[in-house]
Symmetry: C2
Subunit: 323 residues, 2 copies
């Protein structure tokens, strides 16, 4: 058992039910999407998003069994995440994700756009049928945020003047919003108080930000093999993340290389060397650790339970991926 | 003033407000989408969907002014329609729509996928904020149906055994569902009885089917110039519509041509000639007229008003496009 999945022990059986449901939901209705569904909901995914929803569901229901609506919310969360990945891969023209070929590279743009639309549509429909207007609003906000984040990332490419706050906002839109809003929604389905709901939102937001910052660090410190995509690919495409933005404060020449979009040979190699030689990666680690610590504090509001402990352990696991 | 717009006299001012709002909503938030928004919500569109929503709003509110929520519903309807057009154009690789270049041909797949996602996301968000769970469910159903219809159309390409019922079901998913469910939703926002709500749904369903059948006939009877896209392009791409399905009953050789996907030179020309020589177009006209008549009967349940008369006139206008 890998460290990631052993964290999820309290909801292991729930995650198995979820995986089976997701494959059926998408594949059974549309044979043309069956292959894509197998591919999307098969191996590879860490399922950290539905795991957090299920753990929060268990940690807020305690003595009682979690409901079908909690399970459905976890499924919706993974559907929205998967839909956005499929469309992002079309937009970014990515060939690989998590070490496997992307839907659009395997099945073409046609199926990728349709599969993403279908998943978004199905998640909207399931969402409406949870019969909870506040939950509908929270998750609709997420779908807006995902589109906004992808557009913002596109607009800020190769902008060496990007503020770290703007980077964090984009990271919120693209990653943390889904975790934050679905964490809060899980609490609302358990009828928690508004105060606890706010803490759950903050937990999700901080875990999400830490998760994204760590991902962005790994793009510089991991091998292509571990990443399942070429290392340094964010920088190459002009997506400037925390390590780069911190390094820019120390290494003014980095700005020159970025502004000319690595047009000359050796530009990219030189930029990567400047980042490695700076405190950028260390400062990004500290930023991730800061958000992970805040997340652990947020979740402490819940009464102690095996599931609450797993939610705390997740904040450490997120950072442990760096070592 | 064209026949189409003079029909909309009772809601002409409303439609102007709607057009301005839509351009602002999309363009202001995302400069990168501004050009796409101008293009999408500028000239060209007939705005028949929001016009029907606004006319039903006025016909069910009568003495009272229509509300902001009625207006917002009309905007959501046009946003969902536009989002689906943008993604359909990516999926179908269309170069032209309504005589103007498509978003993906002008701005590339990247912007087209993002613009469509953003419009779907924004419509989900506005929808949730109408604070009416039943309306949210109706319109979420539409988003599912649009994806299902596009997938079904893809699966049934060049299937000469396609039943007319399957064609009508696909036409419901792709066209009539949005009109039917938004017509019903407009009534619900005016607190109509369940019985009237059902009649409004049926009106929208029948108008939508008539509209789609007429569109499919025009693909055979219009010039490329009038259509704003190449004539006969449905048949060429294997999208078998009412005139073809009826013609297949009379002209068995048409099946051979379709099944070999017009592989030999002159196949397409020969197929078009067989259809022209059959009763297919006339039978399709009768089917459209049948649904238009049902729609006029459905809407008669409302008390007489200028707006109700416009809704009746629309059922005749839909057919008049054929002459």
């Amino acid at each position: 058992m890998t460290p990631a999945t052993s964290l999820f022990t309290p909801v292991e059986a729930d995650l198995q039910i979820l995986a089976d449901n997701l494959k059926q939901l998408v594949g059974n209705r549309h044979p043309i999407l069956f292959a894509a569904a197998e591919h999307l909901f098969g191996a590879g995914g860490k399922r950290i998003r539905p795991a957090i929803v299920l753990l929060i569901s268990r940690a807020t229901m305690l003595e009682q069994e979690i409901t079908q609506r909690h399970r459905r919310l976890a499924e919706i969360t993974e559907m929205i995440h998967t839909a956005s990945l499929v469309h992002d891969d079309v937009v970014d023209e990515s060939q690989m994700r998590r070490g496997v070929a992307t839907v659009h590279s395997l099945f073409g743009n046609r199926i990728a756009v349709l599969a993403g639309d279908f998943l978004f549509a199905q998640s909207s429909w399931y969402l409406a049928n949870l019969n909870n207007l506040e939950v509908v609003k929270l998750l609709s906000e997420v779908i807006m945020d995902l589109a906004t984040g992808e557009i913002q990332q596109g607009m800020n490419r190769f902008d060496s003047g990007l503020a770290i706050e703007t980077y964090l906002q984009k990271s919120y839109y693209k990653t943390a919003s889904l975790i934050a809003n679905s964490a809060k929604a899980a609490g609302l389905l358990s009828d928690v108080s508004p105060e606890i709901a706010q803490h759950l939102y903050n937990y999700g937001r901080n875990v999400g930000l830490a998760f994204q910052i760590v991902d962005d660090i790994l793009d510089f410190t991991s091998t292509t093999d571990t990443l399942g995509k070429p290392a340094g690919s964010d920088l190459k495409s002009g997506n400037l993340t925390a390590p780069v933005l911190f390094a820019l404060e120390e290494k003014p020449y980095l700005e020159v290389l970025i502004e000319r979009q690595f047009a000359q040979s050796q530009d990219l190699e030189q930029a990567l060397a400047l980042i490695q030689d700076s405190q950028g990666i260390q400062q990004a680690r500290e930023l991730a650790a800061h958000h992970a610590k805040l997340a652990a504090e947020d979740i402490a509001i819940l009464p102690p339970s095996e599931s609450r402990q797993a939610l705390i352990d997740i904040t450490e696991y997120v950072l442990s991926r760096l070592y």
